[in-house]
Subunit: 302 residues, 2 copies
């Protein structure tokens, strides 16, 4: 008898050029390979249709933004329907004139749009000028939790995006709203001018913080990151060496699959029934001190 | 010129017998060694004066509880004054008839009681019947944050205890109230009857979740755990193999010192000035979506 709690997931880790069509075609080829390896759910990296265009503040880059539905979502929807696979994509969304988001889109395995997630935590530091391009998600202003998992035919996807990965609050909120999986499309890399120790510490911290979300919430975690060097168009910084290293963990943070820094796909089979068993052994959700967490709603408790 | 931001910290990892005086004497010897190695702050493990007595529910164990001040705190205060060192201890506190806590105590380097922390998250699962012995900390009922760092001459200590380690909320609240360090006295081990994979996953999860608190908050983390096998007095379970493996990390979760599963002391020098620098590079606290975290105050968002 087939265990319907067991699902096979995949990630696509790729480099991107200035040519959106080329990038999408490369993604389509990878999706086909993932499907051939049995994937039922495929996670694409953050802003996979374009270069990571946030290295400088450039008005002309807004021309990359798309509506939903639009070119990229139509493309992903067709692939999802063709391969009967769930696809989690990511794009620069134009929601209205002057309102742009860094948005994840989920297509169920019939090509229908299951839902979107607009990145909640927006970074802004040299080389990652996202506050210029994106405003933060506001789903909670419609009286809905801003960290709402997206329902699909295989479970509730707690999709978060890149910078969100550093915030245990985001993962916890997804878990508390019934997520069965946590997914992180990301775009992070090294400043080539940094020293080796700092590079190692950064990359290790990036993996540990996401494994810890699995552990704290007893949920599998799927992460995909881009690869390749992308120059800073302004020439101010040394550019970004995207470190790839996508990975898939089980619900105790144990590594099930681990990519290198090359273009690749990665698959793993995860057991969604483990979450309940682990939450019995170590019942963290039972013991949260919700009477004492008010201070989490403050910037600083001074 | 001496860098006053650099402090040397130590942990004492020991086994415990039924004889409280023996346990305390062993601790005193270890504290002396730590001081000789330059320690300015010494973290003792959870309930270091006794066996881990929570393996079964036994009324007679309440006789182990002590007031503050009391025998154990007087002992620690004297050691702190003698060696001019900050000591973070842990005891079974009798606060009033019928009100008992699992309490951490901090003595500044002049032997004065700098503060106490009453464990907020109380576990209860086979072998760890803490809800029978301890009620949770309630400092917030006095209009104070329940996760309040303790001020000492070398910085604000975010002392948390064992089960607290699984809750990113606790670490975050300490950081938001100005902690300069996070400290976890713990008592955790393997069920000898579990298989090797589960044991590895549990121990790895335990370390990763605490390294992640360092990363999310850019604070050094100091963890000490007991060692040795302690039988279950009730004979119901196979007892606990305490896994030791105490460790000290820097503010990116990088391991600075790592113990084995033997009795030992561990020291490391940490730089408190790193926190500010790292919070500039990756400004997580700037970008927390405090407008969207209300759901963290719920048991479940259903």
């Amino acid at each position: 008898m087939k265990n319907t709690n067991q699902i096979t997931v995949a990630v696509v880790q790729q480099s991107c050029s200035d040519n959106k069509q080329d990038n999408l075609e490369k993604t389509a080829t990878a999706i086909k390979s993932c499907k051939q390896q049995g994937a039922q759910l495929i996670l694409l990296q953050e802003l996979h249709a374009t270069r990571y265009f946030c290295q400088n503040e450039d008005f002309s880059q807004f021309s990359l933004a798309e509506t939903i539905p639009g070119e990229t979502t139509n493309f992903l929807s067709c692939l999802s329907k063709e391969h009967q696979v769930i696809i989690v994509g990511s794009l620069f969304e134009k929601r209205a004139e002057g309102i742009f988001h860094n948005t994840a889109v989920v297509f169920d395995n019939d090509g229908s749009l299951a839902g979107t997630y607009r990145k909640m935590h927006i970074p802004d530091d040299p080389g990652y000028y996202e506050k210029f391009y994106f405003t933060g998600g506001d789903a909670m202003h419609h009286n809905i939790n801003g960290f709402q998992p997206i329902k699909t035919s295989i479970g509730n996807l707690g999709v978060l995006v890149c910078w969100d990965q550093w915030f245990p609050e985001a993962a916890r909120l997804m878990a508390l709203s019934g997520a069965n999986l946590l997914l992180y499309p990301t775009a992070i890399g090294w400043d080539p001018s940094d020293d080796k120790t700092l590079k190692t510490n950064q990359q290790t911290a990036w993996q540990i913080t996401q494994r810890a979300h699995a552990i704290a919430n007893h949920l599998p975690v799927i992460v995909t990151n881009r690869v390749g060097f992308e120059a800073d168009p302004s020439g101010v910084t040394a550019g970004i060496d995207f470190w790839g290293s996508s990975f898939i963990t089980g619900p105790q943070g144990e590594i099930l699959a681990q990519a290198s820094i090359d273009e690749t796909i990665l698959t793993a089979t995860i057991d969604l029934a483990s979450t309940g068993k682990l939450r019995q052994t170590w019942p963290f959700l039972r013991d949260r001190r919700i009477d004492a967490y008010q201070g989490l709603l403050n910037r600083y408790n001074d």
